[in-house]
């Protein structure tokens, strides 16, 4: 199990990456035993499959014109599933925008997620997910909130941990550095998870930073930091469990660079073939997290994965129902956009509101 000694061994300064299974799902160290039970491993597989199916469906709905811009998770799911296994009900989840499996584990419904990507504010009201902030699109701004929450918990002597996500591009933002500095200085219980999927939209990591890895950035702020194979669900689970313990026992923040690859596009408005090579995609396909977890399960004969298609079909039905529910959800009144900022609506805002109402009329009666 990953512990403080392992942490010392995997110094980001030496650019070592913590990994437990190989590309086929075989343990690198024959003596290693997973910290997860067989049942948990099978559940992880099912959750990963569910996330992948939901993600695929979301892209399809978007292409059908039934949903707006959507950022696919394909390829990064191991990080989300591992977070879902470690995070507790009282812990906070501070999302970026590409952690679908972690949101689901926290209790967010697909209906809410679809509502969010259909532009409905109710999609940020997570009825069954306790302690989760809304999706954050302004890059890295959420980390400052995460540290604030951690600071408040310390102040109130509350024992729980904050899990905060950011992407590789986010590490170039000022907010990232301010958050890390205060997190260390204030000793807050925050686990920073940097999903390094190699591209900030189309900007490759090499153009983004001169550091040989992103865990190094935590070292600069004296935060225990580690570089992990983000496509290895076992490695991610061990490191996250360690990080949670560390933060929970009052020792302060941890930073995890989860190295992964975004197989899909940045969003549905992006075409990655314009800035990536086939060779690179093929090399990363060998490290696909689902393939690796399945490899492990099949080798250990934990579960019969031949029924995968049936599982996917079952998930699709479920997801379709959730989407239909989202489509039936009442739209928010136009007034909501304009009326709450000022007690009396200023003339400029009134002009905008009238203009928009005219536009809708002109469009032929859309609500």
């Amino acid at each position: 199990m990953f512990n403080h000694e392992t942490l010392d061994k995997y110094s980001p300064l030496e650019n070592k990456i913590f990994q437990l299974i190989d590309d086929d799902g075989m343990p690198l160290d024959k003596k290693w035993k997973p910290a997860l039970s067989d049942k948990q491993i099978i559940q992880a597989y099912k959750d990963l499959l569910f996330e992948r199916t939901a993600d695929y469906m979301a892209v399809s709905y978007q292409r059908q014109g039934r949903m707006f811009t959507y950022p696919p998770n394909l390829g990064q799911e191991a990080i989300h599933i591992a977070t879902g296994m470690v995070i507790k009900e009282d812990d906070w989840l501070v999302p970026d925008f590409r952690e679908l499996g972690a949101w689901l584990a926290k209790g967010v419904s697909m209906r809410e997620i679809f509502l969010y990507f259909k532009g409905n504010e109710d999609g940020s009201r997570f009825v069954n997910a306790k302690r989760m902030l809304p999706v954050s699109v302004p890059i890295a701004s959420q980390l400052v909130h995460a540290v604030g929450i951690g600071y408040a918990m310390n102040y109130q002597k509350e024992k729980a941990v904050v899990f905060a996500f950011v992407g590789d591009g986010g590490t170039s933002e000022g907010d990232f550095h301010e958050a890390l500095n205060f997190a260390a200085v204030w000793n807050v219980p925050v686990v920073f998870i940097v999903q390094n999927n190699q591209f900030a939209i189309s900007v490759p990591i090499k153009t983004q930073t001169k550091s040989q890895n992103l865990a190094l950035k935590g070292v600069a702020y004296a935060i225990p930091s580690v570089l992990v194979d983000g496509n290895d669900v076992f490695a991610m689970h061990e490191v996250l469990a360690f990080a949670r313990d560390h933060a929970d026992s009052g020792k302060g923040p941890v930073l995890i660079e989860a190295r992964t690859y975004r197989i899909g596009a940045h969003t549905t408005s992006d075409d990655p073939t314009k800035y990536r090579t086939k060779e690179e995609e093929a090399a990363w396909a060998l490290k696909d997290p689902l393939k690796r977890l399945k490899g492990y399960i099949e080798a250990k004969k934990l579960f019969d994965t031949s029924g995968e298609e049936a599982l996917v079909a079952e998930y699709k039905k479920k997801i379709d129902k959730e989407f239909e529910a989202a489509e039936k959800h009442p739209e928010y009144p136009l007034d909501d956009v304009f009326k709450y900022m000022y007690q009396e609506m200023p003339s400029e805002l009134r002009r905008q509101k009238n203009a928009y109402e005219n536009y809708l009329q002109n469009k032929g009666g859309a609500k």
Partner: protein, 435 residues
């Protein structure tokens, strides 16, 4: 009941897309989520899945047609619902001229984003009958003065882009429109013949690939100082060498091209300016230390230039294999953007179709292009006697802004020497010795 599926805005503010492939036929039954067609837009090339299960009752647009966001793609007969005639639908596609006209004037209708189909509820809303009605009620907003003015000047007010609140057309817009119209009319009488739409003329919208070719060719001619040089080389030995090699090879046949690529890659190392790019804006020359050779290929759709990467590091056989893969991909339109980028030098072998000499157009911003003419049996003089020979004509264009005449001649001498005596390729391969 029929459901009309309109082309949704799949990329944040798209206006239109082009159909690249249809996956379904009229009468075919489909399930929700099945891919209907593939479309190319400004942002992505993507499959469009169906939102409904049913039978394809109507398809709009053919491959190559441009479809505006909000226009119909297919009609789906939904199972269990009764049939209803959906006549006079919002027209889908590529009736060439109509579409082009719309683009020119900026119809108010293009403001419509994902159409009313942005939300396609699973209830009966959004079904054919409802859509039909909506398509006819749309009318431009305008001030009464603007309407009167438009009428007076014979302008269809629905074609005027309004600048007032909510796109309202004002008298100012009419004035502006009148001006644009008269300049356009003047322009078109200057350089365009007004072709009637009849049996003697066919108006065809240009393809994406033709647009790209046209833009690139013009850009090259406008931004460089073309200079061309022509030569002939006697290649009997090369013909022999190729023949001998091919006798040995099983799964691939080698053409002259790999030898030429090889010779060029070697000579480029000695003459870096021919593998460079002039960047006037930054006032610098960028020398490229990699040798990616583009090959101009003729296809039914138009000219394409796939690029052989690091040609200097590949064997003749490897080059031959890559060329045949590219030729196949070009023929089946499978070349990707990846296949065609990062070229540093280009070869065109127009002679394989016909022609001795040409003035090839540089593949801007590269600095040179090498053209190969048709090899012919010709009398040559050897040891003071006229003997039959194989003569390969060569035409090369360079950007005279960075490549001086002497330099191109020296480069050409080296290349031709290697083509004349292919053994030399072996001698110089891998090194950087002046020949």
């Amino acid at each position: 009941m029929r459901y009309i599926f309109k082309f949704p805005d799949i990329g944040e503010g798209l206006e239109e897309g082009k159909i690249t492939e249809w996956y379904v036929e009229k009468g075919q039954s489909i399930s929700a989520g099945d891919a209907l067609l593939n479309m190319e837009t400004d942002k992505v090339v993507t499959d469009i899945p169906s939102p409904k299960s049913g039978i394809i009752a109507q398809r709009y647009g053919a491959v190559g047609d441009t479809v505006k966001v909000g226009n119909a793609l297919v009609e789906i007969e939904i199972e269990g619902e009764s049939f209803e005639q959906a006549d006079e639908l919002p027209q889908a596609t590529g009736k060439g001229e109509e579409v082009i006209e719309e683009k020119g004037f900026g119809v108010v209708g293009t403001m419509e984003v994902a159409g009313d189909g942005a939300y396609l509820p699973s209830s009966n809303e959004g079904l054919a009958a409802v859509e039909h009605k909506q398509a006819h009620t749309r009318k431009v907003l305008a001030t009464p003065v603007a309407r009167a003015l438009a009428k007076e000047r014979g302008i269809d007010i629905n074609t005027v882009q309004g600048s007032g609140p909510a796109g309202r057309v004002t008298s100012k817009d009419i004035e502006k429109h009148t001006q644009i119209r008269s300049t356009e009319q003047a322009k078109s009488s200057e350089r365009k013949t007004a072709y009637p739409s009849d049996q003697l003329h066919e108006s065809v919208p240009i393809s994406q690939i033709r647009k790209t070719i046209a833009r690139n060719m013009l850009r090259s001619k406008q931004n460089t100082a073309h200079m061309s040089v022509m030569e002939e080389v006697e290649v009997s030995e090369l013909v022999d060498a190729r023949h001998k090699i091919n006798e040995r090879l099983k799964d691939v046949k080698i053409s002259y091209l790999p030898f030429i690529i090889k010779a060029i890659a070697i000579a480029l190392k000695n003459h870096p300016v021919l593998n460079a790019e002039l960047d006037m804006e930054a006032e610098r020359i960028i020398y490229k230390k990699y040798y990616n050779i583009g090959l101009a290929m003729d296809t039914d759709d138009g000219l394409v230039v796939p690029v052989i990467r690091n040609a200097d590091k590949k064997s003749l056989v490897q080059l031959a294999k890559e060329i045949s893969v590219f030729a196949e991909k070009a023929k089946t339109r499978k070349l990707t953007l990846d296949d065609m980028r990062d070229g540093t030098f280009t070869i065109t072998s127009y002679g394989s179709i016909g022609g001795y000499f040409a003035v090839p157009v540089i593949n801007y911003p590269q600095s040179a292009i090498f053209g190969i003419g048709r090899i012919a049996d010709k009398p040559v003089i050897k040891d003071a006697a006229v003997v039959p020979g194989k003569v390969m004509p060569i035409s090369m264009s360079v950007d005279h802004r960075i490549v001086d005449g002497g330099e191109v001649a020296r480069f050409l001498n080296e290349v031709l020497e290697m083509l004349k005596e292919p053994m030399l390729i072996l001698a110089y391969e891998g090194g950087q010795d002046e020949l």
